[in-house]
Symmetry: C2
């Protein structure tokens, strides 16, 4: 690991430590997926081992997070009708309103179900994720049904003249989500001036399960960089 | 079969025969699912056998329709980026604008993907399916992810105070769609005065794959009853 990479890991860890302060004994906690959320899971496990947190139930947003949570002694269960008290997760882009793009870890729909049902949703990130407007830096992940995906991809590409839509692959194989669906990554040719309208248009396309736009979900973000951990509230 | 049932079957068959007149040689045809669409598949097969239709490609909306189509000699393929020339399918409710509720056969999402990508969509039904407004007679099917379904069902029930949402079962087992998802059947307590708004609110709920509302999809409907086959155009 280079110095730069290890510094980035330290930023992610610092943001996660701040987020975990929202977790109190007896809470049901949504456990995010990805390289920053990982540090939150590790910290919750450490506090349980140290006797500083008790009766925590974790609701993991992916198989990977479930495996990690179990390995550090967090009791896990599936999301119930009662939702979760707090959820902690990373993001791929964060705009000044705390609207997010997520899903580059491939777990976007489970994350969205849990975080929609979170009474408080804490985002953790490093400063590289801050953007003036969404769709500035990363593609928009869209989870779609495998069945009919060629038609769905074609329709998505038509939503903005010149948009590019690519099915995500890894080592030459289609990436399949935990729900058995495909991930289409959309690159827009022009700035998306109204993300809510674009989100609605994408979701209106049959075959689309959900998008990586998390609009109005986050309550607070802890963003770590060379200047320390900054707090952003909506 | 009672006289009444056999009369109903005859209505369904007559509507389907009318619809199949839209199918011409060389067309790619979306093949619906259910007790009325079945007669259209049988008729297309018959016309192929009789040499009156050639070079037809069927795009089935369910495994059951695929099996039936193959059994009567229709070549089938999955939906491509080019969509289909014409689609023929039944409906559970048809309102005066040709807006529909579908999905009581459990194939709603594949039907929706195919019929959205149809250049012409023909609905076939008997007169019992005509309603003054949607949600008058039948529940609204909503396809949802199994994961987190308790939270999703709870949120759907909250969309209209007093709405009832039941996961569909058959012989005590959860019904699983061809996409591996569950079907939630919604009963509204009050008339749904704005179906487009309700559709958008349901689709906005994470965990929802799609709804049984087919709004603005149908081009024409053939509806058979004691007075013959009536034609409705949008």
């Amino acid at each position: 690991m280079t110095d730069r990479q290890s510094q980035l890991e330290e930023f992610k860890r610092l943001a996660a430590l701040e987020a975990v302060k929202h977790v109190k004994s007896g809470m049901t906690v949504g456990l995010g997926t990805g390289s920053t959320a990982k540090y939150a899971i590790l910290e919750i496990g450490r506090l349980i081992q140290d006797g500083k947190l008790a009766e925590i139930i974790g609701v993991p947003t992916s198989q990977a997070s479930e495996d990690l949570a179990r390995s550090v002694g967090i009791n896990v269960q599936e999301l119930t009708a009662f939702g979760v008290d707090v959820a902690i997760d990373g993001a791929d882009e964060i705009d000044p309103n705390l609207d997010l793009i997520k899903g580059h870890g491939g777990a976007l729909v489970r994350e969205k179900v849990v975080e929609f049902h979170a009474r408080f949703f804490v985002v953790v990130a490093d400063t590289s994720k801050l953007v003036p407007e969404l769709c500035s830096k990363v593609t928009l992940p869209v989870e779609i049904l495998a069945w009919g995906s060629r038609a769905t991809v074609n329709t998505l590409a038509g939503l903005q003249n010149g948009a590019q839509v690519r099915l995500r692959t890894k080592e030459g194989q289609a990436v399949v989500s935990d729900n058995g669906n495909l991930i289409a990554d959309m690159s827009f040719r022009f700035p998306v001036t109204d993300v809510r309208e674009m989100d609605a248009r994408i979701r209106h396309t049959p075959g689309v399960v959900d998008t990586g736009f998390f609009l109005g979900y986050a309550n607070i973000a802890y963003v770590a960089g060379p200047g320390g951990v900054e707090t952003f509230k909506r």
